[in-house]
């Protein structure tokens, strides 16, 4: 019943003692928290968490287990998982293994038995910071090594597909630029009949337009949008030539391409209960979110973009649209997985846009 001790050490020197979970070894990354109560598998396998240590604020993690269907990427790239309790005996008809086994399988280091609410509160007040999960009890040494540890900036490159591939369908032809896409974006497009070609993050506009797409989808992905400079150029040249729909990092990149700027949020939005107002419809949708960066509102002023969605709690920008061209994007995740399906209408809007505007490059 009593497991081996392991520590979570934050950059600010806070130490949490817990138990070993998942893979052996130690791991450093940026510590963030997610408030979702379900969709643990989807979250851990979401490549947007590349190089991040995920703290689950909900205490019982993995109660419905892990299965072969719900992963959002082939290889999860999170740096660590922090939980109050890793459920040992999950139960669900699709469950194949528990959290510990799942993390071990992918070499992810975790820690259980810690006060995740306290960690959440600390991140909320101090902001996201570097952290390490380690078996070493020399915390001063750990903090020192954290201080010198640089967060990588090449996450997108590491998680994007290296070569194009197709997920077939009989409807609209969609080029999906993969910055670390969640599988459910592909599934959402396929479900609507789309013929999806997944393209590497550094594809040029020419490579993309060669596909004669009815629309281009810009996926979510990890890290700072400013670290993905090449994509911004690609997007600039795509605007006006083909309908564009961006999600999360894709949304930020569209904004950058349009001349706006981004900023790093104190602790971001991560969870499945984030209320967003659709300004045109004057309606609330509960959204799935996972972002640490956002668009600077003022920076949109002199661009061709306008705000379509805002987060009602902090007023931050959650969706934009080009004033004249068929380009729109949202900061949150209409593909859900994990999270509410309230925003799936955006895929339908993208479909409509492709129907009305899709053929324009052929004209």
């Amino acid at each position: 019943m009593l497991n081996d001790i392991r520590y979570l050490v934050l950059e600010d020197g806070t130490v949490y003692e817990g138990y070993k979970l998942g893979a052996e070894g130690e791991s450093s990354g940026e510590i963030v928290f997610n408030t979702s109560m379900t969709g643990i598998q989807e979250i851990i396998t979401d490549n947007s968490y590349t190089d991040q240590i995920i703290t689950f604020s909900y205490p019982l993690v993995g109660s419905a287990g892990f299965n072969t269907e719900d992963s959002e990427s082939l290889l999860p790239t999170a740096k660590g998982v922090v939980v109050r309790e890793a459920v040992e005996h999950p139960s669900n008809f699709r469950s194949q293994e528990n959290l510990d086994a799942f993390l071990k399988k992918y070499g992810i280091v975790g820690i259980s038995g810690v006060d995740t609410r306290s960690i959440t509160r600390r991140i909320r007040s101090t902001g996201v910071m570097k952290a390490m999960i380690t078996d070493s009890a020399d915390h001063e040494d750990t903090v020192r090594s954290l201080e010198s540890f640089e967060l990588p900036r090449d996450q997108v490159e590491r998680v994007s597909t290296r070569t194009p591939y197709i997920s077939t369908g009989r409807g609209h032809r969609v080029a999906l630029i993969d910055f670390g896409k969640k599988e459910n974006i592909v599934r959402s497009l396929n479900q609507r009949g789309c013929d999806v070609t997944v393209m590497p993050h550094d594809s040029t506009s020419e490579e993309i337009m060669q596909l004669k797409p009815d629309g281009v989808m810009l996926s979510n992905g990890p890290g700072n949008p400013e670290d993905v400079g090449a994509a911004v150029e690609t997007i600039k040249s795509l605007i006006g030539r083909v309908p564009l729909f961006g999600i999360c990092l894709g949304h930020q990149l569209i904004a950058l391409a349009g001349g706006a700027s981004s900023y790093k949020m104190k602790f971001g939005h991560r969870g499945g209960n984030q209320p967003v107002k659709n300004l045109a419809a004057n309606k609330i949708e509960i959204t799935s979110q996972n972002h640490g960066y956002a668009i600077v509102e003022d920076s949109l002023k002199d661009t061709d973009f306008e705000v379509t969605h805002i987060a009602i709690n902090d007023g931050s920008i959650e969706g934009i649209r080009h004033k004249t061209e068929p380009v729109f994007s949202v900061q949150y995740h209409p593909e859900a997985a994990a999270g509410p399906h309230d925003s799936s209408y955006l895929f339908d809007e993208f479909m409509d846009l492709m129907t009305t505007e899709g053929g324009r490059q052929n004209v």
């Binding site: 019943m1 009593l2 949490y16 928290f33 408030t35 979702s36 109560m37 379900t38 969709g39 598998q41 989807e42 604020s57 909900y58 205490p59 019982l60 109660s63 419905a64 287990g65 299965n67 719900d70 109050r84 309790e85 040992e88 005996h89 999950p90 139960s91 669900n92 008809f93 699709r94 810690v114 006060d115 995740t116 609410r117 306290s118 959440t120 509160r121 909320r124 969870g271 499945g272 209960n273 984030q274 209320p275 107002k277 004057n282 309606k283 609330i284 509960i286 009602i312 709690n313 859900a336 997985a337 994990a338 999270g339 509410p340 399906h341």
Partner: protein, 1058 residues
Amino acid sequence: MSKRTDINTILVIGSGPIIIGQAAEFDYAGTQACLALKEEGYRVILVNSNPATIMTDKEIADVVYIEPLTPDFISRIIRKEQPDALLPTLGGQVGLNMAVELDRLGVLEENEVELLGTKLDSIKQAEDRDLFRNLMNEMSVPVPESDIITTIDEAYDFVDRAGYPFIVRPAYTMGGSGGGICENEDDLKEIVANGLKYSPVNQCLIEKSIAGFKEIEYEVMRDSNDNAIVVCNMENIDPVGIHTGDSIVVAPSQTMTDKEHQMLRNVSLNIIRELEIEGGCNVQLALDPDSFDYYIIEVNPRVSRSSALASKATGYPIAKLAAKIAVGMTLDEMINPVTNTSYAAFEPALDYVVSKIARFPFDKFEKGERKLGTQMKATGEVMAIGRTYEESLLKAIRSLEYGVHHLGLPNGDAFTLDYIINSIKAQSDERLFFIGEAIRRGVTLEEIHDWTKIDMYFLNKFKHIIDIERELKENKNSIPHLKWAKKYGFSDRVIGHRWEMAEGDVFKIRKEEGIMPVYKMVDTCAAEFESNTPYFYGTYETENESVPSDKEKILVLGSGPIRIGQGIEFDYATVHAVWAIQEAGYEAIIVNNNPETVSTDFSISDKLYFEPLTHEDVMNIVNNENPKGVVVQFGGQTAINLADRLSEEGVRILGTSLDDIDRAEDRKRFEALLQEIKVPQPHGKTATNEEEALDNAHHIGFPVLVRPSYVLGGRAMEIVFNENELKNYMRNAVKASPEHPVLIDSYLTGKEIEVDAICDGENVIIPGIMEHIERAGVHSGDSMAVYPPVNLSQDEIDTLVDYTERLAKGLNIIGIINIQFVLSKDGIFVLEVNPRSSRTVPFMSKITEVPMAGLAMHAILGKKLSESSHAPGLQPVKPGYYVKAPVFSFSKLKNVDVTLGPEMKSTGEVMGKDDTLNKALYKSLVASGLDVKDHGTALFTIADKDKTEAVELAKRFSHCGYRILATKGTAAALEEADIPVVTVEKIGEGEETLLRTIQNGNVQIVVNTMTKGKEVERDGFRIRRESVENGVPCLTSLDTARTLIEVIESMTFNMDKM
């Protein structure tokens, strides 16, 4: 759309008396709603028949009517007050049914009253099984194969098509009244017939049973702008087949992946949108444990017990926001009242686990059928919050106050394995404890799963508890094991048991090792936003968020789950005490564990600790807060019982001293006191064993009233007439309460009088005197009571006042005292003294406008009564007559005898008030659910000892136009007195014609007095049950029958021939 400015006055309908299926949660919802509407500037008119509620306080609504909840009376209020709108979705099923009725009668249209919240069509669509099923079919939402039936033949047709088992759900009933599962033809005959009878529209839904599916609930909200959110989802540990009110429930759900969760969330939101509900709604779903298949079970288009639970589980105040939505406000424009930094349009994120366990009345109704099914049987519930599932479950278990502290029964070793297994299979209310026993004995989880269909997830968690328990035993004094056990919710008591040491010794070790709980905030957002909610739960983690303020604090102990004998009245008193503490300038802190109540609304107190009311849990809070003192007078026996040990630990108990409480409760000391202050009591003695009891009884003379000391609600109290009965009783009673002696009193017949008073040590304020209608021997909680007394002479009143003052001063009462007297032919005797708040406090406070709980609390804090606006002594009599009538839930509890006696059986009460006594009586009878008719058929079956008295009553019924039926012996007595009577065959004689007469609806009133004996087989018992199950009022006290005939006489014209 924004707030409506075209309406000013809003009528809110409450839910009436507390019954099984409709309890304190509607006081919580109604109170929140009224306050929310007032906050928005509306004038609120409230009608409710239940005087024990906070919502009927004048502070809560602008105008309060305590009147029967019938279309008749509500119509009168509507005509008088001319409200602009009616809000019906906060008063449970009663409120909803009233709205439907008022509309049907054209009252709403005639008076131009708009229905707020949810449209009537939507209510009908959700409530009417047929319409609902059609809607679901249109939406392609699966519902189990089912049929709407209005006759038994149609049920046979259904069986031909779909087969057994199937579930019967009567339309328009609450808590599944009259429903059940039919496994065979016998069940079909009984349950279907019952269901048709119980449904006010004689309609039942029968549906293919999907027992064994997971039962999942979604609490959803929607505003007029079509914004819709899910506040909470909950998983019932008990699969479909056991009423959700009786199920053990956990929030959030545990065994669904995001896929299933979002699938069910989408369905729930689609339904609330399709129904165009504006406010809160509860959606119950059945999910196949082995696939994505699901069915909709039902939808409640209103706030409910589940929504109260969801509010407390998440912090999100559903009723408050539902009320604001009803007047046009939208979710995105309302601030989340919990965080005050975010908006109401979001879905709460929990960072803890919540367990709810129902509280059943079978400690009082030992003969009641304990098998759980689709008919709710619980009177109340407890909730507990933890950071592990095990912690939340074990905290909930020790909140129940069953004398069970853990996952098992205290005498668990005593049961054979067969008995344990059968008890699990029987799905009784104790299943959880027997499952614990079974795991302890090595029964495999797979077997238990096969029997119960409880998900393996939960069974594994139960096993984990047993594993920890075993490891504790094997590792005595191991600190890591102690820490581990505390994190999983083990109490010191249980650890002490495994370590063979006292609870206090475990506490000492913990203190030395610094293993103390911390308190975490319930903030709706899993700490994502800063929040100042003063709502906390204890757990064993690293960071304590409940930082005590610098203010002086008073800790108030609540009354725990609602049970027979300790109902909503104690929550009323608790809340009033809190308000008084705040007025006096202190910080008021509440500890309670009942999610249904107003007191566990975090906005009531300065700080709410949602924790079990046990010594350990309360002491931990005391250690964290260091209050000036603890108040135990208002939380019923729950709080009083904690006082001793708290005091031993140096905690100051405020108000009446512990020693004086003991003097009131310890028989010998009480006798000494009475002699000293010269207040007479019936001759009585205490006995610690059978022999002593027999000796004493012979000395006093039969009949005697026997009861264990230290009990509430007259538990195990009986009148015994001879030696054999006493012997029999002593064996049961001593088993029921081994630590305390049995009291044996002379049983005096006479009028029972009840007085509540407030004392500050110097002066005594007596708001009024209540006279009971039923003679002494019927528990005061089950008696009808009249204010002001109508049969007392001034001398008698003076004596009562004198005795009350002597008792209050003699016991050095600081605070509140409740006294019951009997007025017998030999004078006035004191029967019982309770040095605490009583059931009648809200009733009397409302009538006399003496805010008793508040005054008492001020007195406890040192303010002299002489400073209050009320003069000492008996207060001047208020004009009018006020009658309290008990309300029972017998129809929901199989095999329970309805006969009134010294043991309390009612679950709630109503008040009738009017200018004349008969009008007030009429109202109270009607409000209690009795249909007072000026003609019909009355069945008399009367014990020999009562025949003389009964003849006179039968004559009066006959005279009014009632046809009289009687069993042979009774009929003979009636015929002798020239009363026209039809003799019916007794049971067992002929073809059970008597029972059939009742079943066929040919009897409107049954008057039955008991031949001695609690045996279920007795004819009387069967007659009484038959009437209850057929909705026929069964009067077991001739006093009640006399009252009824007096009321009928007063409303009937005389038809004497010339």
